[in-house]
């Protein structure tokens, strides 16, 4: 039950990110997480939102190019070794982490929620479940 992230193409110049957040704001779309990857000329903005289908429709209608990308969203205890344990599970399952970033809000106290883009979502989820870790669903993200 992976979560869908939206990846959006943006030109790397002043104002482009704000113009995009303006569109989301105009449609009452709530951001749960955001990460930017940039090169000299362009950037890719990755977002997790409360309503991914509404957000994708709004952005496409406004002429943005975006893709839905499955990611794994996992609450991790906020303590030494918390992230390390998850990464060990991925390593043991030969799952490669392409990039990761953190959620803005934590669903419960003393935990951080991390978003992983991996090469094999199914293998990653299986490894986490085998160790009884919680994997957030699209509905849980919407209800946060």
């Amino acid at each position: 039950m992976s979560v869908k992230q939206l990846s959006i193409f943006l030109e790397n110049k002043p104002g482009t990110l704000q113009e995009m957040t303006q569109k989301l704001s105009d449609h009452q779309i709530d951001l749960r997480a955001l990460s930017l990857a940039e090169t000299e000329g362009f950037g890719i903005c990755r977002i997790i939102v409360n309503d991914v289908y509404e957000a994708a429709t709004v952005l496409k209608d406004e002429g943005y190019i975006c893709r839905m990308i499955p990611v794994v969203v996992v609450p991790i205890p906020d303590e030494p070794g918390g992230l390390n344990r998850v990464l060990q599970m991925f390593k043991a399952a030969s799952v490669n982490v392409e990039y990761m970033y953190a959620m803005l809000d934590a669903p419960e106290d003393h935990s951080a929620t991390m978003i992983f883009k991996v090469d094999d979502v199914k293998a990653a989820e299986k490894a986490l479940r085998a160790h009884d870790l919680i994997i957030l669903t699209q509905d849980e993200i919407a209800d946060m």
Binding site: F9, T39, G41, G63, I65, R67, I69, K117
Partner: protein
């Protein structure tokens, strides 16, 4: 199945065509000598008299007419008929300096309509067809030229002119237009707009496009054919000679047949002016054989292409010209290297990018720079920065090997490069502001 408008001449023997050209050339040279003092003076300066021109073999003796001559003689200096016999003018879009005005007698217009009707017929158009003319009407020759041809052929003619894209699409749908006449860049824009409205080739009845008035590549043709579900036929012409219909694609879609009963084509070395043998690439020069109001002899088009009289599968015997590789004045000289926008378009499309691009040439620290703005497309976008960058680097490498110089590729957001309803503005040369 090839169709003809005037089969007798379109499929005449080479011998007949040459004899007709010889006969018409002698008369036309006399007409110009008698009626156009500006050209007569040029002939006198070169020591040529009408009696020196007995056949097309003597053509090389005549002086050239260049765009500069047209500007110098503006507006009436090259007029070849009394004003009372002239019924219309057209004018060039004037992108490179002063406008050029060309004149037409009623007979000139009739012959021009024949030329356009032949082009439409060669693309399979019949009186059963609904022909939508989305070229601009007015001073530009595109709209009224194809309009005349379509009416002469007897097709239902829809004079939408350019612009108002949604209305264009409405007519294409409601009237079930089967043939579309416009610039290639506007055809691509119509296809893109239709796609945005959720319409595809299966929702329209178009079968053919007569697309011209600007340089376009084979790759762009393939793209337009796929997105509109049509066969795209090239058409060539210049206001100076009449307008579209000087040459046109046939069912073979492999070079444009020149209406040789009205025009003689030559290829010359643009540097020396020397006539080059058939098959050589060089500057295209036209002599108009029938135009009375604006009779240009040996007009230098600045288009770079080659000619061929090899037999064509369509049955036409008229000589073919290849798609012009570019105009000598479209050619950019960047760090001393000749660059044609059409070369860049080919590389872009081979790499999966759209044909909507813009070239920005500038001079930084006394060195020329070339930036190519390319729009990102859903197909070319991935979530992986490395992948998008790698594609960008591949494009830069392919451009380098095609052009011989390095260009910077800037990926821009969709629909940020302005669309044009007529001729696309592909090049912004900031160096001109510096000089």
């Amino acid at each position: 199945m090839s169709q003809y408008f005037q089969k007798e001449i379109e499929c005449a023997s080479r011998n007949e065509i040459e004899n007709l050209q010889n006969e018409k050339l002698v008369k036309q040279v006399q007409h110009v000598w008698d009626n156009v003092p500006y050209y007569r003076k040029k002939m006198e300066q070169k020591g040529v008299k009408p009696e020196d021109i007995r056949s097309t073999k003597d053509l090389y003796k005549l002086p050239f007419i260049s765009k500069a001559d047209l500007r110098e003689s503006y507006p009436y200096g090259l007029l070849g008929a009394p004003l009372k016999d002239c019924v219309r003018i057209h004018s060039t879009s004037g992108t490179t300096g002063k406008r050029v005005v060309a004149f037409y007698t009623q007979e000139d217009l009739d012959l021009w309509s024949d030329c356009c009707a032949r082009a439409l017929a060669a693309a399979g158009t019949t009186p059963e067809d609904v022909v939508q003319i989305s070229y601009g009407y007015g001073l530009f020759t595109g709209g009224m030229g194809l309009h005349g041809g379509s009416e002469k052929l007897g097709s239902l003619t829809v004079p939408t002119s350019s612009g108002n894209t949604e209305r264009q699409i409405m007519f294409i749908q409601d009237l079930k237009a089967t043939v579309l006449c416009c610039t290639p860049s506007y055809a691509a824009y119509l296809a893109e707009t239709m796609k945005g409205m959720g319409l595809g080739p299966e929702d329209i009845s178009l079968k053919a496009g007569i697309l011209g008035a600007e340089a376009w590549t084979k790759e762009m043709r393939d793209d337009i054919e796929a997105t509109l579900g049509i066969k795209a036929y090239d058409i060539y012409g210049l206001t100076e000679l009449s307008g579209p219909g000087v040459a046109y694609d046939c069912s073979a879609q492999d070079g444009m047949h020149i209406n040789e009963d009205h025009f003689i084509a030559e290829i010359i070395d643009p540097e020396t002016g020397e006539v080059l043998p058939e098959g050589s690439e060089g500057e295209l020069v036209f002599t108009s054989l029938d135009k009375k109001a604006f009779p240009l002899l040996r007009y230098r088009t600045r288009d770079i292409c080659s000619l061929s009289t090899k037999p064509c599968s369509c049955g036409r015997t008229f000589m073919k010209m290849c798609k012009p590789r570019g105009r000598t004045d479209d050619m950019l000289i960047i760090r001393g290297v000749n660059v044609f926008p059409s070369q860049i378009e080919t590389v872009l499309m081979n790499n999966g990018y759209p044909a909507n691009y813009q070239l920005v040439v500038d001079r930084v620290n006394n060195s020329d720079t070339l930036d190519i703005l390319v729009e990102m497309t859903p197909e070319m976008f991935t979530d992986n920065v490395g992948e998008v960058s790698r594609r960008q680097k591949d494009l830069v490498a392919d451009l380098k090997s095609m052009l011989g110089i390095k260009a910077n590729v800037k990926l821009v957001a969709p629909r940020t490069i302005p669309r044009s309803e007529g001729k696309a503005v592909r090049v912004i040369d900031k160096r001109k502001l510096l000089d």
